[in-house]
């Protein structure tokens, strides 16, 4: 065994990128500081072909994070057992360093709607989400990370602050958390709340992964800024500043650059990863 063989069984406290097939050759040739990659589980549920072959090749070189977008953990109905079985099959084959999902729902009786839809924060929804996470962790035989959402509106019936809701889920189920810093910024802007207060209340010791990404900007009926989580642009400076705040408070973490629409050429994505690495380096120097 090589002395320098990286440990691929856990995500390192270094940058990762959301994998796009068009970057495969460049990523293998010139990863720069990219030490791990994240894939969307649902894109790798075919029987074979190039997607699984690329993933296999990547998994021999990079630690892998599998990020699910379709489990509908916040759904009112029971979890889709067929989908859970597909997920278990993929994770058994790949044995990735991490699996994460969202505090959201996307499936209802009539179908799958391909968006991360919001849920009210009440005792009833808390119990339901925890039961679903228990079922997922039991079926998959591993801890999952749960990601904080981007919010565009709120539910009048909500009684629990989002951070408390997430912390309580982690307490009750033993799941970890995925802190999407861009989502914190988007939600704070859209809810006219203070992102630092959210981050200071967030249980950073439960966080196994950070996300950074870009967003779009719109206006609501009153003309107030309405940010849309698009993953289609560079990370903005205020989000980099919040990222600094998080790693200063909680130490360096595995950090992902998410870029899913209007995907740039590899050098631009790699440059975002380099920037994330530089922020971690600057923090280490300052300490």
């Amino acid at each position: 065994m090589l002395d320098h063989a990286p440990n691929l069984t856990q995500l390192p406290n270094r940058p990762g990128v959301g994998f796009k097939p068009q970057h495969f050759d460049a990523l293998m040739r010139d990863p720069g500081p990219v030490a791990w990659i994240e894939i969307h589980a649902e894109n790798y549920m075919g029987a074979g072909g190039r997607p699984l072959a690329q993933l296999h090749a990547l998994s021999e070189r990079f630690a892998i994070s599998v990020h699910g977008v379709g489990l509908s953990i916040g759904g009112e109905g029971p979890l889709d057992r067929d989908h859970l079985a597909r997920l278990k099959h993929l994770l058994s084959w790949l044995n990735p360093a991490s699996f994460s999902e969202h505090l959201a729902w996307s499936t209802h009786e009539t179908g799958y709607f391909n968006d991360l839809l919001p849920l009210p924060y009440t005792e009833a929804t808390l119990a339901r989400v925890c039961a679903h996470i228990d079922q997922v962790q039991e079926t998959l035989g591993r801890q999952i990370l749960l990601e904080n959402p981007s919010n565009y509106l709120a539910f009048a019936e909500s009684t629990i602050p989002e951070v408390t809701f997430l912390a309580e889920i982690a307490n009750r189920t033993g799941c970890g958390l995925l802190l999407d810093v861009n989502n914190v910024y988007v939600s704070a802007c859209n809810q006219q709340s203070e992102p630092h207060a959210y981050l200071d209340a967030f249980p950073l010791e439960q966080v196994g992964e950070l996300h950074l990404g870009g967003h779009d900007e719109d206006r609501d009926d009153q003309g107030a800024r309405l940010l849309i989580d698009s993953h289609g642009a560079p990370v903005v400076d205020p989000v980099w500043a919040l990222y600094d705040h998080v790693i200063a408070a909680g130490g360096p973490k595995p950090v992902l650059i998410e870029w899913d629409t209007d995907v740039p050429d590899w050098p631009e994505l790699r440059a975002e990863a380099e920037r994330a690495e530089a922020h971690m380096g600057a923090l280490a120097q300052a300490l």
């Binding site: 649902e42 894109n43 549920m45 075919g46 029987a47 074979g48 072909g49 190039r50 997607p51 072959a53 977008v69 379709g70 489990l71 509908s72 759904g75 009112e76 889709d80 067929d82 989908h83 597909r86 729902w105 996307s106 499936t107 209802h108 009786e109 009539t110 179908g111 799958y112 709607f113 391909n114 968006d115 839809l117 919001p118 009210p120 565009y152 509106l153 709120a154 539910f155 009048a156 019936e157 859209n190 809810q191 006219q192 709340s193 719109d218 609501d220 009926d221 009153q222 107030a224 309405l226 849309i228």
Partner: protein
């Protein structure tokens, strides 16, 4: 407010927003709810555009988006695996009056679905062609040949292969008027669409249905007495479309 009410309103912009959704000042959420309406429609429309690029090119982007908006509401995905989304599109197009002037459109959609299925199909087991040469002809005729996952044929009354090719390759010749059959295979990782004779299509279809070589040959010869078995097996071998062979026992 339940999730049924949320999704019903999200899919129908003529409906009022669900009750109980608010902006930061406690006022009704208003166009903030439209973010979800938009995300659902745009993301599913994009999934369809990615899956059916030639259908989109044939009807134009504006028509495609309008058509997709109707389709995704009538046929939302049944699972989160969007690589499978759109199975219902050919049937939908057959009874979608605005597309009636392009009667070949449903078969083009079938061809694009078949290509996508082949892309994600299981990798074929290696096959030694010597097996075909070594088996005595009468035993070979009673054998069942296994095709690779994702091998499909489409027989159309329209020139679907040349229409598809003219709209996906830069220097392709203009389509003719004749009916065409297409064989879809996946040698390596990229699916290939090959125009084939109707007899070849009948032969491959019989194999996909698990028929013996003899029965497949009969089906092909019914379509064309001049059917060339050797050339067809050569085509299937060159396309890595054969994966195995089982001899039927006599009492089956």
């Amino acid at each position: 407010m339940g999730q049924a009410a949320f999704i019903t309103a999200a899919l129908d912009a003529s409906q009022p927003n669900p009750k109980g959704l608010v902006a930061p000042d406690g006022s009704p959420a208003g166009k903030r709810f439209d973010v979800y309406r938009n995300n659902i429609a745009v993301s599913l429309t994009e999934a369809l555009e990615t899956g059916f690029p030639v259908v989109c090119k044939l009807v134009g982007e504006a028509f495609f988006k309008a058509m997709a908006g109707v389709f995704l509401r009538a046929h939302p995905p049944s699972s989160p695996v969007l690589a499978r989304y759109g199975d219902a599109l050919p049937g939908f197009l057959e009874s979608f009056p605005p597309a009636a002037s392009l009667p070949y459109l449903p078969d083009i959609a079938r061809l694009e679905l078949a290509m996508r299925r082949a892309y994600h199909a299981a990798d074929p087991a290696p096959f030694d062609p010597q097996i075909l040469a070594e088996l005595p002809p009468e035993r070979l005729m009673r054998a069942v040949l296994y095709l690779a996952d994702g091998v499909q044929v489409i027989a159309s009354p329209y020139p679907i292969h040349s229409i598809w090719r003219a709209n996906s390759e830069a220097d392709a010749p203009p389509p003719g008027r004749e009916a065409e059959c297409v064989l879809i295979t996946r040698p390596g990782f990229d699916p290939v669409a090959t125009p084939v004779f109707a007899a070849t299509a009948a032969f491959v279809r019989a194999l996909t249905e698990g028929k013996t070589l003899e029965m497949a040959l009969t089906a092909a010869q019914n379509a064309d007495p001049e059917f060339d078995l050797t050339a067809t097996l050569g085509l299937l071998l060159s396309q890595q479309a054969l994966t195995g062979l089982t001899e039927r026992s006599d009492h089956e």
